[in-house]
């Protein structure tokens, strides 16, 4: 899962050249795809957004001492014909940032289709910081000429790798985003008031805060029915670069503490997905693991895959008619695709969008999820035995016996992980093992 850039991204002579690594396009894997060439309506907004996405990639808000130190990872860019999306995860994987350059933010030019990494280096960051509103900047994402002129060797030896944490994060975030509901929308000066009033202290992560929606997301001492609890408000600070441009801020909250923050910008949109807890990275979730283990969902997804075509908004009705699948199968297929990282979810538009992660062994990366691997291991050694009509016993490796029962169509396990840590984190490996053993319904706790 690594590639190289042909050269460093630069901004010189009013030409912003964002270099691409190996990517995926409608024609297949391409070494250095050219995804966009043209002009932006608000280069200052785009530059600030790109910097904010890069800030998130270079930040480690929480560190439980387990994560490998990764800094300055390059964002993933998806070109969808009429818009560009740049996405990144923080090093702790508790924050995902996405900048959507919308059609009205692209003045003129040609947006292709595909997904890849773009190089954002330190000199470029300095240059981007100086990009003004009135600058006439020609932007090129990928450089066809450069690729042709130097077909073999990479000009730069910089290697870009999409770590497994990112891959799993990309798989988890759509489910989290789709499960959120709108809480509040701030407009005008209320956005500045909110940003200025965010509690400080506690380092980069910041303190935990309960933000009351009825009073413009003002911090309150206790959670209320209309408040949102953010574990580590410092995770919102990357949006400070963009706050001066923001026209609206939409906040959505999920059932288990995850949240989605969407800043509406002139011609663009900046979205921050915050995980349920400061120390709970998206990569550690697994809410869609059951779907990955579902062959029916996989079959539907395979059928749908040919109809996605990097569309920025996937129309379920269109997919249903084009694929001939039933509505439920389309939903299951989309969920499977989300769990496999092939579609994202745009919370602002409440729509799925297509992207193909630029990794060669995507499926392997996802099925290597420790819980899913553990479930496969349990099934392989025959640890799952039916124990009644709607119950199963699983023999643990240390002689423990776990019991999974179906309650109201949902599989529930009595293991410690399921009891203590499972909220919003998907099924435990025992439930997955029961699901995989094909004797149980395809649902999970």
């Amino acid at each position: 899962m690594s590639a190289t850039y042909l050269r460093r991204s630069t901004w010189a002579d009013d030409e912003l050249g964002l270099q691409t690594a190996a990517g995926v396009t409608p024609t297949g894997r391409v070494a250095h795809p050219e995804l966009f060439t043209g002009f932006l309506a608000r280069p200052d907004v785009a530059a600030a957004g790109l910097l904010a996405v890069a800030d998130v990639a270079a930040s480690r808000y929480a560190d439980a001492g387990q994560a490998q130190r990764l800094a300055n990872l390059d964002p993933v860019i998806t070109a969808s014909g009429d818009q560009l999306r740049l996405e990144s995860f923080s090093a702790c994987n508790g924050v995902q940032a996405r900048l959507d350059l919308l059609p009205d933010g692209i003045d003129s030019g040609n947006v292709a289709f595909g997904t890849t990494n773009v190089d954002v280096n330190t000199p470029l960051r300095t240059a981007l910081a100086g990009m003004g509103r009135d600058a006439l900047v020609h932007v090129a994402v990928g450089d066809e000429q450069l690729r042709i002129s130097t077909p073999e060797a990479s000009w730069s030896e910089d290697k870009v790798a999409l770590p497994q944490r990112w891959v799993r994060g990309f798989a988890e975030v759509p489910a989290v985003a789709a499960g959120t509901s709108p809480l509040v929308e701030l407009t005008g000066p209320a956005i500045a008031r909110f940003m200025a009033g965010l509690p400080r202290g506690g380092g980069l992560l910041g303190p935990r805060a309960h933000l009351e929606a009825r009073s413009g997301l003002k911090p309150v001492p206790r959670p209320t029915s209309s408040s949102i609890t953010v574990d580590g408000v410092g995770r919102l600070r990357s949006a400070a670069r963009l706050a001066r441009f923001a026209t609206a801020l939409q906040v959505r909250r999920g059932a288990h503490g995850a949240s989605v923050w969407v800043w509406q910008l002139p011609g663009a949109r900046f979205t921050l997905h915050l995980s349920a807890g400061a120390y709970k990275g998206f990569s550690g979730g697994g809410s869609l693991l059951t779907l990955l283990a579902d062959p029916a969902g996989q079959a539907s997804a395979t059928t749908l895959l040919g109809h996605l075509a990097w569309q920025p908004r996937l129309d379920r009705e269109h997919l249903r008619s084009a694929s001939g699948l039933a509505s439920a199968a389309v939903d299951a297929g989309l969920a499977w695709l989300a769990a496999s990282g092939r579609v994202g979810f745009d919370a602002a538009e409440q729509a799925w969008f297509h992207r193909e992660l630029p990794v060669t062994d995507l499926q392997q990366a996802l099925t290597d999820h420790p819980r899913l691997a553990g479930a496969h291991h349990l099934v392989e050694r025959g640890a799952v035995t039916p124990d009644g009509e709607r119950a199963w016993s699983l023999a643990g490796s240390r002689g423990d016996v776990y019991r999974v029962v179906e309650q109201d169509g949902v599989l529930v396990c009595d293991c410690a992980w399921a009891c203590e840590a499972a909220a919003g984190r998907g099924p435990c490996k025992h439930v997955l093992a029961v699901t995989l053993s094909s004797t149980a319904p395809r649902s999970a706790s």
């Binding site: 300095t126 500045a192 206790r222």
Partner: protein, 842 residues
């Protein structure tokens, strides 16, 4: 003399210089020195005992060893084998030895030295002091890594600031050191290096553009606040202009939006130039409005107020910027100032709506009529009767007894079990004293074999459990709680006076086996309280048999306040007392004769009195909560208690463990806590005390307030939940809490802004009617002060916002007086709002 003997001669006085000179004369001699080292393997082992007696060895031997190794080894071996960390201590870097060793290193050549420093660089053993002359003389490359830079910083920090320039100018590697410093994670405010660099820029040692570029890269990369503060100092010292920034105005806008406040504060004035035009000023205003720093908002407002701003930018732009700033701020005074500016420029008062200066007209939510949910904490349960014969002398009871005697479980958590065990033994012992004695001897035999004074005393009591053994232990406990005796084998719990009371009472009971029929003080409920009816019943069942004086005292302390008329219930009862001490002991002679009479007097006086609290200053230990009480019991009975049990002066820090001892005095557990502790320095015991549902006083409210204004969120959240329990139970004493708040305000340990958040939380949880009187008292005291304390504006703002919920609010005179006084502080402004809002008819 052979070569080995010559090395011996050098080693006799650890003559490092001589050894080096000797080795330099003939390379073969190095081999002899190596052989000598090999023959003396233990000579250089770190030995602090030897260091104390042989200072030459301590100072010079490591250099001696290093000299031989550096003269002979490869760089890798030298890096690994020489005790670099020992050589670098300040006391070893004096004299001529270091320079002599450096000469020796110089002889090894540039390549050898470079390799050595490369090996040392990743560690913290690459000393700047040791190697910088070598780097200078041999023109070596400055080593990378933090260690060398750290040494340079250390050298700077020990140099007076007025000599820095001289030092850095004399160091040819300064540019590289600065570069390494900027790349390191050593940037901090002490010593702040960057602000001291402009003279080097002026002298041409450092290039201005390069230095600024590197520093701005740090800022853009999100460097730590300390590093950004240093950069801000540099920017100020260099008098940076927009022309210095790589992207000019746009770059400055990015910095203003995302940099640390210290950097943004330097950048803002660069953008606030009338000639910059509308977009620049409005974008800057939007950035400043979204930042928390009040200083920058004031800077922007001052700029907007200048006539030249309106003339150059146009009034419309100024109005737009002021509106952005005012509407985007929670700061009422700033909002008012912005609104006033807008009004002045437009002539319209419509913009006044932007400022929250008028009376609040929020719809009523009915908060006043709500009540917080009642707490659902555990309710004290009745204590089961003492165990019957078979259980009383079982293995479980043996464990309880052992733990009780050794103090390991004698504290609150298990004390009821131990007391029930002892009570059961006493009851069985009335009919089978010998059997019980044998069982006790066997059960506690192992635990009394402890080292130290307490072990000896317990063993003596064990062998002769009579009055003499008890007297010895009684005397010993008296010394232990006064901290005069240090017995390392003594369980720490027994140092607490409450635990020693428990031990003495247990021994008193075991000493009375066969005579005492039962214990008087065994609690009747799990909160350690004792019902008066149960005590009277027990006195009746004694039927003329004796009780222990300490047991009687404990029973009285557990009664709590009682109805004085109940004293009549004890008329006609008698209760002889049996002293555990020898008959000749003074306490035995002054002991009351009739315990029933003591109980009658106690009940007639109303039972347990409340304590009086006052701060006590303990020499060298600060100020603590101290207490005083006069118990309605004869002095002859009180004298049996361990010293300090009921006297704060003798026992200054022993509040722990009083809950089982005197359950009606939850405050006393706070005894031994700081007086007016800083925010967040509260006792965790406050939770247990508040949830005990018993009345408490100043010290507990002091602890509660300390928790409610704690700096850490989780502490405050926990305290608010606790406070809500108290409010839900309707036990919150606003007067007492306000009194403590007054003391804390006067001592400047009550952050009113944080307390306001707690008030806000309590009100939103339905406790407005119960916290409002407290808020009024707070506001009254804050407004009375000659200089209103910080946070008063926050308190008044919240009160102004919430006052529409209060029926017929009455404002304290101090608040109305503040509102009427001339002034432009935020507190003045909010006081006016509050008074105006309170006057709005319902």
């Amino acid at each position: 003399m052979d070569t080995g003997g010559e090395v011996d001669a050098f080693a006799a006085s650890w003559d490092v210089e001589g050894l080096i000179a000797w080795m330099r004369e003939d390379p073969q001699r190095v081999q002899a020195a190596i052989a000598w080292l090999a023959a003396h393997p233990g000579e250089f082992t770190l030995d602090f005992e030897r260091a104390n007696t042989d200072r030459d060895w301590w100072y010079r031997a490591p250099w001696f060893e290093a000299a031989v190794v550096l003269a002979s080894a490869t760089p890798a071996v030298a890096a690994r084998s020489v005790a670099w960390d020992r050589l670098q201590t300040w006391e070893k870097m004096v004299g001529s030895i270091p320079s002599t060793v450096r000469d020796l290193l110089g002889l090894r050549g540039r390549q050898w030295c470079t390799q050595l420093m490369t090996r040392l660089a990743p560690t913290w053993t690459l000393s700047y002091e040791m190697f910088s002359p070598l780097v200078r003389d041999l023109e070596l490359e400055v080593p990378e890594g933090n260690a060398y830079v750290w040494g340079w910083l250390a050298a700077l920090s020990t140099t007076p600031r007025d000599q820095w320039l001289e030092l850095v100018l004399s160091e040819p590697a300064t540019p590289k050191l600065v570069e390494n410093y900027l790349a390191s994670d050593l940037m901090r405010s002490n010593p702040p290096v960057l602000p001291a660099l402009p003279p080097l820029v002026a002298a041409g040692v450092l290039e201005r553009a390069w230095l600024l570029g590197r520093c701005l890269e740090l800022v853009m990369g999100g460097a730590r606040p300390a590093a950004q503060r240093e950069v801000a100092g540099l920017l100020l010292a260099l008098e940076v202009t927009l022309g210095d920034l790589p992207g000019g105005v746009s770059y400055a806008q990015t910095l203003l939006a995302a940099a640390h406040g210290s950097v943004a504060a330097v950048i803002l004035p660069l953008l606030l130039q009338p000639g910059h035009g509308r977009d620049v000023v409005l974008e800057a205003a939007a950035s400043v409005a979204a930042r928390p720093e009040k200083g920058m908002k004031q800077t922007l407002l001052r700029f907007l107020k200048q006539p030249v701003s309106g003339d150059t930018l146009g009034r419309g732009v100024v109005v737009e910027a002021a509106t952005l700033l005012g509407e985007g701020s929670d700061d009422a005074r700033l909002a008012t100032q912005c609104a006033a500016l807008v009004t002045k420029l437009t002539g319209s008062r419509d913009h006044d709506a932007a400022a929250p200066s008028g009376p609040t007209t929020q719809p009523r939510l009915g908060l006043w009529w709500m009540t917080p949910p009642a707490p659902s904490g555990p309710v004290p349960q009745p204590v089961p009767a003492p165990a019957p014969y078979s259980d009383a002398m079982g293995p479980t009871m043996a464990t309880e007894l052992r733990d009780g005697l050794t103090g390991t479980r004698g504290r609150e958590r298990h004390q009821i079990d131990v007391e029930r065990a002892v009570d059961g033994l006493v009851r069985v012992g009335l009919t089978h004293p010998q059997a019980v004695r044998v069982w006790v001897e066997k059960a506690v035999g192992s635990c009394v074999r402890r080292p130290g004074a307490m072990g000896q005393a317990l063993a003596a009591w064990h062998h002769a459990p009579g009055p003499d053994g008890y007297a010895a232990l009684w005397e010993l406990v008296g010394t232990l709680v006064s901290y005069d005796v240090w017995d390392p084998a003594l369980p720490w719990a027994l140092r607490e006076v409450a635990a020693s009371m428990h031990l003495l009472r247990t021994l008193e009971a075991l000493g009375g086996l066969g005579e005492v029929p039962a214990l008087l003080a065994t609690p009747t409920r799990t909160d350690y309280t004792l019902d008066l009816d149960a005590l009277i019943d027990r006195v009746r069942t004694f039927d003329g048999r004796p009780a222990g004086p300490l047991d009687l005292l404990q029973a009285l302390l557990r009664l709590g306040p009682v109805e004085p008329t109940r004293a009549g219930d004890l008329v006609g009862l008698t209760l002889p007392l049996r002293s555990p001490l020898p008959a000749t002991h003074p306490l035995t002679r002054t002991m009351p004769t009739d315990g029933a009479e003591v109980i009658r007097g106690w009940v007639a006086a109303g039972g347990l009195p409340q304590v009086t609290w006052a701060p006590v200053t303990v020499p060298h230990n600060g100020t603590w909560w101290g207490w005083q009480v006069e118990l309605p019991a004869p002095a002859g009975l009180l004298a049996f208690a361990p010293p300090g049990l009921l006297d704060a002066a003798e026992n200054p820090f022993a509040g722990e463990g009083y809950a089982p001892l005197v359950p009606a005095w939850p405050d006393v557990s706070c005894f031994g806590r700081y007086y007016l502790p800083p925010p967040g320095r509260h006792s965790q015991d406050v939770d247990r005390i508040v949830r005990s549902r018993r009345p408490f006083g100043l010290p507990v409210y002091d602890q509660l307030l300390s928790a409610l204004v704690a700096p850490r969120d989780r502490d405050r959240d926990w305290a608010i939940e606790l406070w809500l329990d108290l409010l839900g139970d309707d036990r919150f004493d606003a007067e007492t809490c306000a009194e403590v708040a007054r003391l804390r305000m006067d001592a400047a340990v009550l952050p009113l802004a944080r307390l306001t958040r707690a008030l806000e939380a309590a009100a939103s949880a339905g406790a407005l009617s119960r916290v409002w009187p407290f808020a009024l008292r707070l506001a009254e005291h804050a407004c009375t002060a000659e200089r209103v304390p910080p946070g008063t504006a926050d308190l008044l703002r919240w009160m102004a916002d919430i006052v529409p919920e209060v029926p017929a609010p009455v404002m304290p005179s101090a608040v109305t007086a503040l509102a009427a006084r001339a002034g432009s502080t935020k507190a003045h402004h909010e006081a006016k709002r509050l008074v105006a809002a309170a006057l709005v008819p319902a």
